[in-house]
Amino acid sequence: MQTDSPEDKALAAADEFDDEPVESRTSNVIAAAIVVALAVLIIVQSQFIGEPGRPTDPGPGGYPTLLAVILIVVAIPLFFQKESGEAWPSFKHGLGALAILVGMIVYAQILGLIGYIVPTVALILFGIKVADPKTSWIRSLLYAIVFSVLIFYVFYSVLGVSLPRGDLERLLS
């Protein structure tokens, strides 16, 4: 297959949007150790699943055990590799992602308690301010409310998709 067009060469050269992989053997060793530990845990847990395997069938615990053993085997070369992935963020930049993660966990817990709209407005507002603290509060709140109500209406009333409903949602629908 021919690949000599100018577009292809530009594509190959235009890597500025790629996060360059970093070399970090430490990162690979940690990842490999986690994978091996997980595999050992699976092997141990699998011994307590149902009946032991029969000669004609690995059994419900035998199949995950087989996979866990394969996992350990393919993880071994990782202890000796240098190439890793993207660089981990600095503490300051990582706070943004961590804040969103905490926000989503809280969101998931209250979603079923008070309905869809209010928690979603809060999540979107929180996300906007985390992404860009300088964004106007009023504009952010307006966007969050309009988006959440619109989405609720489209999904619940038009498409008939079940969403958590509180008093506000019952009022609107």
Binding site: A12, N28, F147
Partner: protein
């Protein structure tokens, strides 16, 4: 030939055509929203067809199904958030192109590849349906187990340069698929007493988390300082002729592969797309950019994906065995009218059967026209400032995960998958193999254990013709990246 004319006469009336176009429009709207699967959309719309004649009803559902599969590529390309599971492979190259300010080109490639793939699939269905369905229904546990192995072998091949990490990712996907109830004996596995976990981890929330939420975390990590998404002028204008030149001949090849995979019961566009992507990559020169923004990869995934749609219809129409869950719902649209899919339908209702074949030839053209009109609209998504876009993506992701089973647990699964996907990016682990492992996991385990049981505990079933063919293909697929890596190290590249 007479049946073809009967089918064409049945299709060329206002009612079937109107509902087919309505289905296409609705399918694009649904497919573009992450978490709303084509199956869900068909199931929701199905009751509306009860009051219609069979052909318009089925044509509407086919239009909806086909276009939902296509439209899943839109958020996959623009936001790295597959609109449907079948677009997971599209996100690999599609989003990378968007990041380079080539979102418009990516959308055009997706549309053209969709058109070609769907058309080739429709033609293949019309010609080979009776023969292909007859072969597919004869596949047993041994063949399916080896097919699953072949899909898993592609995991390694896709991760050239990171073979160990790719295989770890794939095996992790297989392990995640074991959570829940064991498919043979019915024992609970890794549930830790939770009734939510007992029903298994649905792969849709995991898919949304791995691709969408993880990317959102990366966006929030970088704050508003760096513009990772293209500017508002990023889409540009690209003619079909500009795009078409790049696609031949990979697209027809991947289309045929996608159709073949779609014919096999239990498989569909999601697996077909990865297989098409990998196979075109394998036979392409200078394939280092596949998965990182190569238009050929995007075109291969989309054409295979959409060619699989007619493929899944083959066993459904000819034998009454649904090719996948969406096809199972389609059967409902036929049986509600007292008709029964199968050979007798060919004789008793040729207008319906051949009308379906004709509709699958017309639908690609309808998708192309609507897609060309809409393409500039989709691009407005990336003109939205990042601080509004990514929180909105999170909100949509939550809906997509919750809507499946009405379960907050699925939202938590999605969040955890987002953390996993984020960590995998940092560690250099490819995420696509995990998704493949998750999808083929149940197929692999069930059929591996069944084949072993049927063979009395032996593994001689691997040496039967078709299983052996899949085994050889798997070994060849795995050998290529190992040999290439060894060669590169040898010449010091």
């Amino acid at each position: 030939m007479n049946d073809w004319i009967i089918g064409l006469e049945a299709v060329l009336t206002w009612q079937p055509l109107f509902f087919m176009v309505l289905g296409v429009v609705a399918g694009i709207a649904v497919g573009a929203i992450p978490g709303l699967t084509a199956t869900m959309a068909i199931a929701v719309v199905l009751p509306f067809t009860f009051a219609m004649d069979p052909l318009p009803g089925v044509m509407m559902l086919l239009g909806l199904y086909s276009s939902a599969v296509y439209a899943g590529s839109i958020p996959a390309i623009l936001m790295r958030l597959p609109g449907t599971p079948a677009s997971a492979a599209t996100a690999l190259d599609g989003y990378a192109l968007t990041q380079r300010g080539r979102g418009g080109e990516a959308l055009m490639i997706s549309l053209v590849a969709t058109f070609v793939g769907a058309l080739i699939g429709g033609i293949a269905l019309a010609i080979f349906a009776p023969y292909l369905a007859g072969i597919a229904v004869n596949l047993g546990a041994a063949e399916y187990a080896m097919l699953a192995l072949f899909a898993i072998a592609i995991i390694g091949a896709m991760s050239e340069g990171a073979l160990a990490k790719g295989l770890i990712s794939g095996v992790l996907g297989l392990l995640i698929a074991t959570v829940g109830i064991d498919p043979i004996d019915g024992y609970a596995r890794f549930t830790f007493g939770s009734s939510d976990v007992r029903s298994g981890l649905d792969f849709i929330p995991i898919l949304i988390g791995i691709f969408g939420v993880a990317e959102a975390f990366r966006q929030f990590e970088k704050r508003a300082g760096v513009a990772r998404v293209g500017s508002s002028n990023a889409l540009g204008k690209y003619s079909i002729r500009h795009v078409w030149r790049r696609l031949v001949p990979g697209v027809p090849y991947s289309s045929v592969l996608g159709f073949g995979v779609g014919v096999l019961p239990g498989t569909g566009g999601d697996i077909g797309a990865f297989i098409g992507h990998n196979e075109v990559r394998r036979i392409s020169r200078d394939n280092r950019r596949f998965g990182k923004g190569d238009p050929r990869g995007l075109a291969a995934a989309e054409s295979a994906n959409n060619a699989a749609v007619p493929g899944t219809i083959a066993p459904t129409i000819v034998l009454g065995i649904p090719g996948n869950s969406a096809a199972a719902v389609l059967i409902g649209a036929i049986t509600v009218h007292g008709l029964r899919p199968g050979p007798q339908l060919f004789e008793g209702s040729p207008d319906l059967v051949y009308g379906i074949f004709w509709s699958l030839l017309f639908i690609p053209f309808v998708m192309l026209i609507i897609g060309l009109v809409g393409i500039q609209l989709w691009g407005r998504i990336i003109s939205i400032p990042r601080q509004y876009l990514w929180p909105s993506v999170l909100a949509l992701s939550v809906i997509g995960s919750y809507a499946l089973r009405g379960s907050v647990f699925d939202v938590m699964v999605m969040t955890c998958a987002g953390v996993l996907g984020y960590a995998m990016h940092k560690g250099g682990f490819p995420v696509a193999p995990l998704i493949i492992g998750l999808i083929v996991g149940p197929i692999a385990e069930t059929n591996f254990r069944r084949a072993t049981i049927l063979d009395g505990g032996g593994y001689g079933w691997m040496l039967e013709p078709l299983p052996l063919l899949f085994l050889v293909l798997s070994l060849v697929t795995l050998a290529f990246p190992i040999i290439n890596t060894w060669r590169r190290k040898r010449v010091g590249v």
